[in-house]
Amino acid sequence: MSNYIMPILIIGLLLYGIIRKNNSYNSFVVGAKSSFDLVLTSFPYIATIFVAVEIFNVSGLSIIFSDLVAPVFEFFGIPRQLSEIVILKNFTGCGSLALLENIFTTYGPDSYLARAGCCIVGCSEAIFYVTAVYFSKTKVIKFRYAIPVGMLANFIGAIVSAWICRLI
């Protein structure tokens, strides 16, 4: 059933384009072209996170980390395998995609961990990154309660993700 959602929306959009006499072919080509820039800007972050994750896992640091931090996450119902995504998600969105891809290969894309991971990645953005970029045109240097509120809201999103994927 859910597999129909995307195709139906896209067909609807194309029909709307015909009604509005928009050249959808040209629009699509122009849009697709901008994917070059996007993939070039995100690649360095993805590469950095993948390499860091390899070091993190192979050095045994991930086990130490897991033993220290995971119990807190598990207390709120977030599985220990997803605790790294929840933390990294605050700093870099592309980087958390790298972790999600690792979850897909290890546990399969239809596993509970993969679905909950998708939810966590899909429900929020990197608060540190967004703050740095969005205030870049202002003189503001005191962000007051912005970062703590952003992190807390993301954490609540992660808790809800972990629970909701157990139910549906």
Binding site: S2, N3, L9, I10, L13, Y16, R20, N22, N23, S24, S27, V30, G31, A32, S35, L38, V39, S42, F43, I46, A47, I49, F50, V51, E54, I55, F56, S59, L61, L97, E101, P109, D110, A114, R115, C118, C119, G122, C123, E125, A126, I127, V130, V133, F135, S136, K137, V140, F143, A146, V149, G150, L152, A153, N154, I156, G157, V160, S161, C165
Partner: protein
């Protein structure tokens, strides 16, 4: 520190794991490139048919409720900003977000509660369709890649709602500084 530990623990694995990280990054980026090409193409159709402007118009009462009194230009920027988030146009939302916050700038060192509200709306990003994640799941061979739409929607509403309420609460406790 991690690298130091790695060198001591497992010298043989050190180089090969570094390079395998780089290799994985390339294969993920290629997948993402495909997904971005499709979705940025589709979103450009949304933009050119001015469907996003229609959505933005529907949002203006909500924006007034969240931000209080702001000028028309800022309101428009925030509307575009939220709409692009809703449609999963994360990167398209950045310029409008920057402009919206710049429009509220008073030259002060301190962020106002309206600025923080815009920021939190973006960081908790209310997304209707998590297109990138669905694309990655499809490519990984999932049988029902889109079945995360509803759970993600519930989670994103929860995080946005708690973010908005927290900002409202904190803006009552800590008054804006000059």
């Amino acid at each position: 520190m991690g690298f130091g530990l790695l060198m001591i623990n497992n010298v043989d694995l050190a180089m090969s794991s570094l390079l395998s990280g780089g290799g994985k990054a390339i294969s993920l980026s290629l997948k993402l490139w495909g997904i971005y090409a499709v979705w940025l193409g589709i979103l450009k159709i949304v933009e050119d048919t001015e469907l996003d402007k229609k959505l933005a118009k529907l949002l203006s009462p909500v924006i007034r409720l969240l931000l209080g009194k702001v000028d028309k230009e800022t309101e428009n920027q925030v509307a575009v900003n939220i709409t692009s988030n809703l449609l999963g146009m994360g990167n398209a939302s950045t310029p409008s977000g920057i402009n919206a916050i710049a429009g509220l700038d008073r030259g002060s060192r301190y962020a106002t509660s309206a600025m923080i509200m815009i920021l939190i709306l973006n960081s908790t990003s209310l997304q209707l369709l998590p297109t990138t994640v669905i694309g990655l799941r499809t490519m990984a061979g999932s049988a029902t890649p889109a079945d995360i739409i509803i759970p993600t929607l519930i989670a994103t509403v929860a995080s946005t709602l708690s973010g908005v309420l927290l900002v409202k609460l904190f803006s009552k406790i800590f008054k804006d500084k000059p």
